[in-house]
């Protein structure tokens, strides 16, 4: 059997993200192929033959997704509207870059109450409660989830765009 096709089959049937660990398991640890390598070959193949799908590296694994040029049609089929509001995005940014953080950490940066936003984000599974802080009142601490990584299409949190340094922003605003 061709490793290439086996991996492809695994990717098609995988429930969520296919990781090297899962591949190893499927091969009973008998010379499992390197997922990274196979994906590269497969993606090249798909591109050459102009397929409607591709393999995406995400949340420390891979998954097969449709090519974005077809999203126009697919969106109509699902009628999805899953946009995130500005407060939600700001809150996510703070949790992603400063996290794990408490609600008051977020509120002191944003200058507004965040109870509702946090609830929505929890329901969307983009954030999770990581436990409680040891500070006074033992407030809950929030962190991002794997679903967050998937929703933003990144492999890990370090793939997010770098937070621009304070000085850079000061210069930016004073030189306008």
């Amino acid at each position: 059997m061709d490793d290439l096709r086996i991996i492809e089959a695994l990717l098609f049937s995988c429930e969520d993200i296919l990781t090297q660990k899962k591949v190893d398991l499927c091969f009973d640890n008998l010379k499992p192929p390197e997922l990274d390598k196979i994906v590269k070959i497969l993606n090249r193949e798909y591109e050459k033959s102009n397929r409607s799908f591709l393999i995406q590296k995400i949340s420390s694994g891979y998954r097969i997704v449709t090519h974005p040029i077809y999203s126009k049609w697919i969106k109509k089929m699902f009628r999805e509207s899953s946009s995130l509001s500005q407060p939600a995005l700001e809150t996510l940014a703070i949790i992603a870059y400063k996290g794990p953080v408490t609600r008051s950490d977020i509120e002191s940066i944003r200058g507004v109450g965040c109870v509702g936003v946090l609830k929505t984000l929890l329901e969307k599974k983009l954030i999770k409660i990581n436990g409680r802080s040891k500070d006074m009142g033992k407030p809950l601490i929030y962190g991002i989830t794997n679903e967050f990584l998937i929703a933003f299409g990144v492999d890990s949190i370090s793939d997010l765009p770098k937070l621009k340094e304070v000085n850079e922003i000061i210069n930016q605003t004073s030189t306008i």
């Binding site: 097969i64 699902f78 990144v154």
Partner: protein, 239 residues
């Protein structure tokens, strides 16, 4: 001159301030506090009419701005060192810079998010279903989901309260006569002396109620030297 500002389009008071700063090309480290305060107050003057969930935060910022403005009017008290005086605006400036950092990055995140929405995994519909609360995957259930499920359950089902009514064993009337009898022998008595160690909770409660009753009827006088001190009960002589 100034056009209407729609407060709802700002995600908070800091967002609104940044809007003024950008519009008027203000240096964040040297904010003309008087001008920005009047702009800000002008923008939020219709706040009462709009139903904004974070109205309180906007008002809080207004008061902070006015405090800074007031501080600016006071002569600067520089302690010997002329270089280092506390600019009352520095906290606000730092806050704005910090907030701006995340506001900028949230724009980047937004682009990433909308781009990612164009990739559909093959099991897309399945994933959506899984997010539905009716399709709980027990292995993946988080504490939050569990708690909110519990909450919805409680809210749905009216709580049945069963009252176990027991016959009153100790009567207030009996207690009153007991206290009065005690006071007949001694003119003054400590509250704690009215029971022994075996006294039940309801016994203590009834005694307390009896005392309240006696105070109301002006039969006794109750004094206490300080909080949590012994309560002293005295008989009032009937004139």
């Amino acid at each position: 001159m100034s056009h209407q500002i729609n407060l709802e389009s700002f995600s908070g008071p800091l967002d609104l301030l940044l809007f003024f700063i950008k519009r008027d090309e203000i240096d964040i480290m040297d904010i003309p506090i008087s001008k920005i305060t009047s702009d800000y107050l002008n923008a939020i003057k219709d706040l009462e009419q709009i139903n904004l969930s974070n109205a309180g935060d906007f008002i809080y910022m207004a008061s902070s701005l006015m405090r800074i403005k007031a501080k600016m009017l006071l002569p600067l008290t520089n302690d010997n060192n002329e270089e280092e005086f506390d600019d009352p605006r520095i906290d606000l400036a730092n806050k704005l810079i910090e907030y701006q950092k995340f506001k900028n990055i949230s724009n980047d995140l937004k682009n990433m998010y909308t781009q990612q929405l164009n990739f559909f995994p093959f099991n897309f519909k399945y994933i959506q279903k899984e997010k539905d609360y009716n399709n709980f995957n027990l292995e993946k259930i988080s504490l939050f989901e569990f708690a909110s499920l519990f909450k919805t359950l409680i809210e749905k089902k009216p709580i049945q309260i069963n009252y176990d009514l027991k016959k009153e064993k100790i009567r207030v009337k009996e207690k009153i006569s007991f206290i009065l009898k005690q006071l007949f022998d001694l003119p003054k008595i400590f509250f704690s002396k009215l029971f022994n160690r075996k006294s039940q909770k309801d016994d203590i409660v009834v005694t307390f109620v009896a005392i309240l009753e006696l105070i109301q009827n002006k039969r006794i006088k109750v004094t206490q030297k300080s909080n949590f001190d012994e309560i002293l009960i005295e008989k009032i002589k009937i004139k």
